[in-house]
């Protein structure tokens, strides 16, 4: 019986020595950060925070003064290290910076190209309160500008950007949400290279960073996802445009939902009508072959989907027509894959992880390749693409055939 008080005391004392989410802090003493950007100015890091103003977001509470207030506020600090920059932030904020809800991290192209991301990753992986699931984004201009843009429908723009990425990743396989932890893993992987989507502002930035912007139905500027930045080790080496980022998606077996636009006939010109094929399910298999010292990558793509839209005049109930369409689609995919591969070779990044495949299947060949200065140049690819149009949705014949039939004599 008299062991009890000691036991309870022990249970209370033990947690004191357990490090972790310790120390109490009241909610109204925190400034909740929703987005962070990192720029470089001369020899200083410039860290910019987007801080949520809770009163402005949750209306109808005792806080008062909601509605006319900007939902977020932004402040920048600089320092020789990132931590120093953050330390300096406490000189100008009344509240403690709270990083656990930071959902995006925007790096400027300058930082990524010149400084590399090594130190940034180290900084964000180290403290317990930073989230490894935050999304990494690149921008070509000043990263802090992006935090100023107000996004219609959304109040916390940091979260909104994250939702834009999530949403477009679902509907458009070329976009990929790169989490901090995945990014760190890809950067460290010698046989792969990291890719990070670009975030850009199109339009008049100044106009969209004032609250008045939300009063008009048309936005002066919008934030949108753009190209794909490709890293070699921890440095940015180049950008892939839309078509090329689709090619990367094909090569790295990431296509889940993608629209392929193709002409009516194989040799169709620009004026030809176009059709859309929606990929529902696709798989890409990579395998390597060695023939006489030459390495060949076999890229087997098997795409299944739906014919979603057509402007062509053809009889879709005829299996031969369908087969013809499948051939054209395969050719379009093939084009994307080949041009992407050529681009990747020029910037010398192995985004789809070809070397990884070779390392696994032919370790000897990989050893030779690894010593080569430009290993990607010694690889040729052989795409084998099979497309299967599973159905044509609710109608069979193209609508244009109706116009054709019912023409007045």
């Amino acid at each position: 019986m008299n062991r009890w008080p000691f036991l309870i005391l022990l249970l209370l004392i033990v947690p004191l020595f357990v490090t972790g989410c310790w120390d109490s802090k009241e909610l109204n003493s925190l400034s909740i950060i929703s987005a962070t950007s990192i720029d470089r100015e001369r020899d200083h890091w410039v860290v910019t925070f987007q801080v949520i103003i809770p009163q402005a977001i949750a209306t109808q509470t005792g806080g008062g003064g909601a509605g006319s207030q900007s939902p977020t506020t932004i402040f920048s600090t600089n320092g020789r290290t990132i931590r120093e920059a953050m330390q300096n932030a406490s000189l100008e904020t009344s509240r403690m910076l709270f990083f656990a809800h930071n959902s995006i991290l925007i790096l400027s192209e300058k930082v990524a190209r010149e400084e590399g991301v090594g130190q940034i990753l180290d900084f964000f992986l180290r403290p317990f309160e930073s989230r490894e699931t935050m999304s990494i984004l690149l921008t070509k201009g000043k990263a802090s500008d992006l935090l100023e843009v107000l996004i219609p429908l959304e109040k916390i723009s940091g979260n909104a950007v994250k939702r834009v990425i999530d949403q477009s990743q679902r509907n458009l396989s070329q976009v990929q949400n790169i989490k901090l932890i995945d990014f760190a893993a890809r950067v460290a992987d010698p046989n792969a290279s990291a890719m990070v989507p670009e975030l850009q502002v199109s339009g008049n930035l100044k106009g969209q960073s004032s609250l008045d912007a939300l009063k008009s139905p048309r936005n002066e500027a919008v934030i949108k996802l753009g190209e794909l930045g490709v890293f070699r080790r921890d440095k940015l080496v180049g950008w892939l445009n839309g078509e090329e980022s689709r090619g990367v998606a094909w090569l790295s077996n990431r296509v889940k939902n993608l629209i392929i636009v193709y002409p009516c006939s194989a040799k169709g010109g620009e004026r030809d009508s176009l059709s859309s094929f929606r990929v529902l399910k696709s798989s890409t298999k990579l395998s390597s072959e060695i023939q006489g010292g030459k390495v060949t990558m076999k890229v087997q793509i098997n795409a299944r989907g739906v014919l979603d839209e057509t402007g062509c005049k053809m009889d879709l109930s005829n299996p031969r027509v369908i087969a013809e369409q499948q051939r054209i689609i395969a050719k379009v995919i093939n084009g994307e894959v080949v041009s992407t591969w050529n681009r990747l070779r020029t910037i010398e990044t192995d985004a789809p992880g070809f070397l990884d495949v070779i390392h696994r299947e032919h370790p000897d060949a990989w050893k030779k390749l690894a010593q080569s200065k430009h290993p990607l140049d010694e690889i040729t690819i052989r795409p084998q693409i099979r497309v299967n149009i599973e159905h044509t949705d609710m109608i069979n014949k193209p609508y244009s055939t109706l116009l054709e039939q019912n023409k007045r004599p």
Binding site: P15, C21, W22, N28, I32, I57, G62, G63, I156
Partner: protein, 532 residues
Amino acid sequence: MRPFTKNKQSGNPQPEACTQRSTESQAAETKLTGNLDDDLRIIKERTGGSSDLIIRLIDSMFGKELRIAVIYIEGLVNEQVMNSSVMPSLTAKDFIDPHHLAAPSEVLGMIKNRFLSISNVKDVHSLDEVLSAVLAGNTAILVSGATLGISASTAGGEQRGVNEPQSETVIRGPREGFTENLRTNTALIRRKIRNPDLWIESRKIGRISQTEVAVMYLRGIANDKVVQEILQRLDRIDTDSILESGYIEEFIQDEAFSPFPTMTNTERPDAIAGALLEGKVAILVDGSPFVLLAPVTIFKLFQSSEDYYQKFDIATFLRLLRVISFVVSMLLPSLYIAITTFHQQILPTTLLVSLAAQREGVPFPAFVEALAMEITFDVLREAGVRMPRAIGSAISIVGALVLGQAAVQAGLVSAAMVIIVAFTAIAGFVAPSVSISNSARILRFGFMILAGTLGLFGIMAGLIALLIHLCGLRSFGIPYLLPLAPFIPADQKDAFVRVPWWAMLRRPTLIGKKNPKREKKFQKPSPPKNKN
């Protein structure tokens, strides 16, 4: 002066040595003298000439020398029985042979065996017996010259009838509840179990109050050791009065300083009957409609008697709901404190922002805010219980409007906190037993302090300490966490879930192990098998 204690109901000899000793020492000095005037004078002296003690002297038809005294207390006896059965038998003339002079003891025997039309009649030998019989509502009849008297059972008087229990209401199930009268209560139970094996052992406890306490159990099902243990603990009680069963509970429970009750109480005879059939023991106290039940395990406290009357599926759902509600009412405010002051990172951003917006402008830390609101609620609750019905509506207006809405609008309390406190309060009322909801009510504050100082670690530490405590707790030798720790697979049928009645084949293992078989197997209803 220690009064006489007597085992009234059972034929068992009294196991208590101390009671017997007092019997012997008392008997010597208070024997009926046979001198009626002396005896009556002593009785009057002993009662201080209280105005409700009625002594009626009747000149007997056997002669002036043979007087009969009828002693009773007004209000404790049934006047109708007095007037129609007791008095006529003493005053009637037609059966008397006036020439035959009988000895006083013979007269007494005649009254007892021939005239008195009262079914329950006993001999009394001492003044103390006379007094205790009279104080129990019986009528004592003394005859001058006789050294013994008669006690006739005439108990009655004004009493509350059998009503629907106030504290435990059910939708489906019997509507009768216990009353303040012990006999009514034992009868209510006997009506449900018509079996000679339903035994009652009585004790008189309380040096001054002389309260009758009855221990009821089903012989052959109840564990004899538990019965003996309960009787021994009852005999050990030496106090001046037992005014309610709560006195007994505190005297005989296993762990004096546990927040959890190791005995439960109920107002429902059907709940007692069900428990007796599982092998438990009921303790009834005269003057209290709350009957104690032991031994009890923690899961029993989450069970309502209605669970057994409703379909098993909904009963199971409700049981799980009650366990969850108990946890909620114990932990919700502390979890809120811990999460909003220590672990903000585990909330989704939008929820955190909306909570932060509500906290904006609140001048107190979350812990102080929660503590103040919880105490406010307990004040409101206590006020609601104690105050007269007529001003009942005032409390809801003051409580809901002034303390809830106005506090939020004034920015003193965040709206989320009001929601938390309200939900905690409602969750606390789900428990079918008041005693278990009171445990949560006390523990809640402890957990809030732990959460305010150590966050979730504190809550976990508290929960671990609580678990250790519960594992060590016993109720009359039965582990408190019974079907779980020790784990008894067969008893899971009636812990978190309630299986259909045709599957409830055995009684609880440790409690009813003397006679485990409850019913025949294979009674699951199924469509008749047609051969054609």
